[in-house]
Amino acid sequence: MLSLLLLLPLLIVMILNLPLGRFRSLGFWVALVLSLVQAYTVLFAPAALSGNHDVLGRLFSLGLATDNLSRVLLLSISIVTFASLLVGRQTIREEKQRINFANLVLIAMTGMNGTVLLTDLFSLYVFLEVSAVASFILIAMKRDLNALEGAFKYIVLSAVATILMLSSLAVLLLISGSTSFAAVGSAIKAEGRSPLVVFAVAMFLCGLFIKGGLVPFHGWLPGAYSAAPPAVSILLAGIITKVSGIYALIRLATSVLGPSNSINALLMIVGTISILVGALAALGQTDLKRMLAYSSISQVGYIILGLGCGTDLGIAGAIFHLFNHSIFKSLLFVNSAAIEEQLGTTDMSQMGGLGSRMPVTNVTSLIAFLSTAGLPPLSGFWSKLMIVVALWQSSHGGYAVLAVLASVLTLAYLLTMQRRVFFGILTDRWANVQEAGFGITLPATVLALITVGVGVAFPLMFNSFLLPVASFLK
């Protein structure tokens, strides 16, 4: 059954591109249903996702497997895809573009599901590129100068990442004779000190750093996020970079490399730099989406910091924050989509007082930003708390202090955002602005409810769900 997650989207894409005439526009609904089915399966029928009875997987000789980590990611993928599709339907006017959008989202979904499910380093790389190629096109969909520039930067830096990862894979294949996680892992353990292995591991890590947009590998990210159409920004910021960069890093660090002090130290340094640079850069932005992009860098830094901590609690916190971040960052981008759709601009210096005109966007944005800044009892608070506590327990007090201080910065720039956009006096220019359509407010409400619900239910989940997430290490 597991391979269906990969094959179904592909199959649908193929069918949709047959000359079906008007029926092709059904593709959007099919994709929507698919994302809901995926969410339902992960939540309520996890037995169907065990890899043992996977006939199709064996047929294609794919090494598919699920564990708690990949289930969390599958859930995030489905939720964010759902939101992105609805917003896309609302914001993309042209029928043909809509069909293209649905197609590309389905391809990206294949890529992401594959990345999450495969147990082979090379296949992981391939599916990573599948979603990357889909996102290149998605970013450039508007075909204006900005969009092309954003896509181009992404392609260039992705090319660098491709070179790094491919050369690394070549070396690893040379050493271990296979690219499956287990084989590479044992080979690295056996020859951990050889310069070649160190080179290969470092190369692969750097490739993933580029994909995940960590400082100083993040150059492509702000441009790509802000130039992309609203629906694509959600998908990109919410899940694609998280899966292709951050999930892959977590997988690499836990399933392949195993515990290693030097890699942990590297991750913590990169994470901290990302947190600080991202937050400081976000503070100075006047463009809403660009600010959210930098904020994304900063939040990803937290995840990497938690991962670098190396303890069970730290990794659980990192994974939890990955999930939370994909929800509330998508929510913030949904809100920015609402604003872009209704106002035609994302320049915050031109806004003010929109809260009274766009109440749903206002309230959901408030929830998302408070959660991002880590205020109890919202979801972001708990995951950040877990990361900070883990850092403290593993005697990395300095990093813990920096992490806490940076969340003050987070609060500062998001509060500035909220105030500039939603609070204050409504200018005459926006006196007749309406709330965005149902296609935007519905996903915003759903995502906000998840943020609040996860936060409130956290004490219930902690023992039953979050600790087992980390225990896949044992």
Binding site: E149, F152, K153, V156, L157, V160, L164, G192, R193, P195, V198, F199, V201, A202, M203, L205, C206, F209, I210, P216, F217, G219, W220, P222, G223, N261, S262, I263, A265, L266, I269, V277, L280, A281, L283, G284, Q285, L409, A412
Partner: protein
């Protein structure tokens, strides 16, 4: 009789207090409730009873104990309440919030009864602290100025109640129980500390220096029956009751200990300083309020002597003082009600217009000055005897206090009741009977307790002291003391006559003291409130808060100025670095790769 009856002296006034807040006729309800409680108190007098219910746990039991001492205080407190309520029936007729006043008064009575009956220190503290609320409420009824005074009282009494709480905690810890009747602590250093803390709570409730400063302020702004009710009688009863309990029962206090000396010093200073202030007052109520403080000195001095005759004198003085001081305040209330003022300048010649009030004033004033054969004379003689036994210096202070007391009351009586009639006193009539009855009753008790002083001494005081204490020292009448007292009183009269003649009128009989070379400076400071410990403490606190504010500003500017500027400078720098040039970003990424490689190499070599 069922032991539950012990709850009634608390519950009846409490319930009545709540009812008066809501229903009319308030006067009738208040009168009925206090009268019934008084009957009950008479009925309960000199019975031994305990009532116990599990309460908060941890040794905090709802334990009430009735025995001769508590039943005596119960009787006195309830009696005064009845008389004050009766007095209020006409005094408070035109006041703004009579329902609140009666309600607070009744609840105060309930709490006083509770505190007196409580045999558990924590329970006593519970009632004791409750009094703070009604105290605040009653003073605050005096309008805007009253609110300020109420706050002052709340802070002063609150702080001393806090001391009491600490003392109770310490004592309970040392004794291993909070039950008063089971306590008898030897005076270890820690126990002495506990005693001092509890003593602060007790004497500040009684209004001793230096916890007195709200009383003269309240005399000006609060309703007058309040003064007769709380600072003059009930608070004295309660404070001195606790002081006697801790000195006699809870701690094994011995004469000659430093605590005894401390108490005697506090007592002597309170007598002298407060009476000096009283002497120069030109307001009926304010003058009385300083005497209310000064007289506490005699009680603290008497109990502080730690000899039976002194303690007995202190306790006797407590009941006597409650009698004559409330009577004096009530005469002040009559004067205020009938003339509309209490400024001595505006009064004069009232003796003929208000003969009954005047007669009561004379009796009470003689009693407070210690004129034989009134009650004040006998209790003061006992205190003198006790003080002399411990050291002549205390005796001299006490006698000096008597001199000034007599002088100031001669001045007060002369200024208010004799002399020329003024605008205010021209068309004055005698006060109505509900105001006269309480005064007459109290004044006659003063006379009764004077003429038959053996009656209260044997009936009330002896059982409190206990037979073995009395057996240790049989009081021997010292004729010398009586002669000295009479001489002092005669001197005071002489002084007044001479001074009034030379300074021109009774009102100015003390002006030469007010303007004496050194004293005048001190009085000037006192008039401006500079010697008020409350104001001094406020000044110190203001200084501290000023410093804290400065510090806060400094920290704030660090956050608001420095850190924000730093964050934005960094932010601008990072923004400038993002030029949007993709080749630059590639260079960054490659530099990053190089650094990662270098890091990995180095860390692997190291370990």
């Amino acid at each position: 009789m069922n032991d539950h009856v012990l709850l009634l002296p608390i519950l009846i006034p409490l319930v009545a207090g709540v009812i008066t807040l809501l229903l009319r006729p308030r006067e009738a309800i208040a009168l009925a409730a206090t009268a019934f409680t008084l009957v009950l108190a008479v009925f309960l007098y000199n019975h031994d009873k305990t009532f116990s219910v599990a309460w908060a746990g941890f040794g905090m039991e709802f334990l009430l104990r009735l025995y001769h001492f508590s039943s005596f205080i119960l009787l006195a407190a309830t009696g005064f309440s009845l008389l004050v309520v009766l007095y209020c029936c006409s005094f408070m007729r035109d006041s703004k919030h009579p329902n609140q006043f009666y309600s607070y008064l009744l609840i105060t009575l309930a709490f006083v009864n509770g505190a007196v009956l409580a045999d558990n220190l924590v329970l006593m503290l519970f009632f004791w602290e409750g009094l703070l609320v009604t105290l605040f409420g009653m003073i605050a009824l005096g309008g805007r100025e009253g609110f300020k005074t109420a706050t002052k009282a709340l802070i002063i009494v609150g702080i001393s109640d806090l001391c009491l709480m600490v003392g109770i905690g310490l004592a309970g810890h040392l004794a291993g129980t909070a039950t008063m009747s089971k306590m008898s602590l030897p005076m270890t250093p820690l126990a002495s500390l506990a005693f001092v803390f509890m003593m602060i709570g007790a004497i500040s409730k009684a209004g001793s220096m230096p916890f007195h400063t709200w009383i003269p302020d309240a005399a000006v702004s609060a309703p007058l029956p309040f003064m007769a009710f709380l600072p003059a009688s009930l608070e004295k009863l309660l404070g001195i009751y606790l002081l006697a309990r801790i000195s006699l029962d809870l701690f094994q206090l011995s004469a000659g200990s430093w605590i005894s000396v401390t108490m005697m010093i506090i007592g002597s200073l309170t007598i002298l300083l407060a009476v000096m202030m009283a002497l120069v007052q030109k307001d009926y109520k304010k003058l009385l309020s300083y005497h209310a403080i000064s007289q506490v000195g005699y009680m603290v001095l008497g109990i502080g002597t730690c000899v039976p005759i002194g303690i007995g004198g202190g306790l006797f003085h407590m009941i006597n003082h409650a009698l004559y001081k409330s009577c004096l305040f009530l005469t002040g209330g009559s004067v205020e009600k009938q003339t509309g003022t209490t400024r001595l300048e505006d009064l004069g010649g009232l003796a003929r217009k208000m003969p009954v009030t005047f007669a009561c004033f004379v009796i009470a004033a003689c009693a407070i000055s210690g004129v034989p054969p009134l009650n004040g004379f006998f209790s003061k003689e006992l205190v003198y005897a006790g003080a002399l036994e411990r050291g002549s210096i205390y005796y001299i202070a006490a006698v000096l206090g008597s001199f000034f007391t007599a002088a100031s009351f001669l001045k007060l009586g002369h200024a208010a009741y004799f002399g020329k009639q003024t605008e205010a006193s021209k068309n004055v009539k005698e006060a109505p009977w509900p105001m006269l009855v309480p005064m007459i009753v109290i004044a006659s008790i003063c006379v009764l307790f004077g003429l038959y002083h053996q009656l209260p001494l044997n009936e009330f005081i002896r059982p409190i002291l206990g037979e073995q204490r009395l057996a240790a020292q049989e009081s021997s009448g010292n004729e010398m003391l009586i002669i000295v007292t009479v001489i002092v009183l005669a001197l005071a009269l002489l002084h007044h006559l001479v001074a009034a003649k030379t300074m021109g009128g009774g009102l100015h009989a003390s002006d030469h003291i007010r303007h004496a070379p050194v004293l005048t400076k001190i009085y000037d400071h006192a008039d401006k409130g500079r010697l008020d410990p409350y104001n001094l403490a406020l000044a110190i606190i203001r200084g501290i808060s000023n410093l804290a504010y400065r510090f806060d500003r400094a920290v704030d500017s660090l956050y608001n100025g420095l850190s924000v500027r730093l964050a934005y400078t960094l932010s601008r720098g990072i923004s400038l670095a993002h030029t949007g040039n993709y080749s630059l970003y590639v260079v960054w990424a490659l530099l990053g790769v190089a650094m990662v490689l270098a890091f990995m190499r180095m860390s692997l070599w190291q370990g």
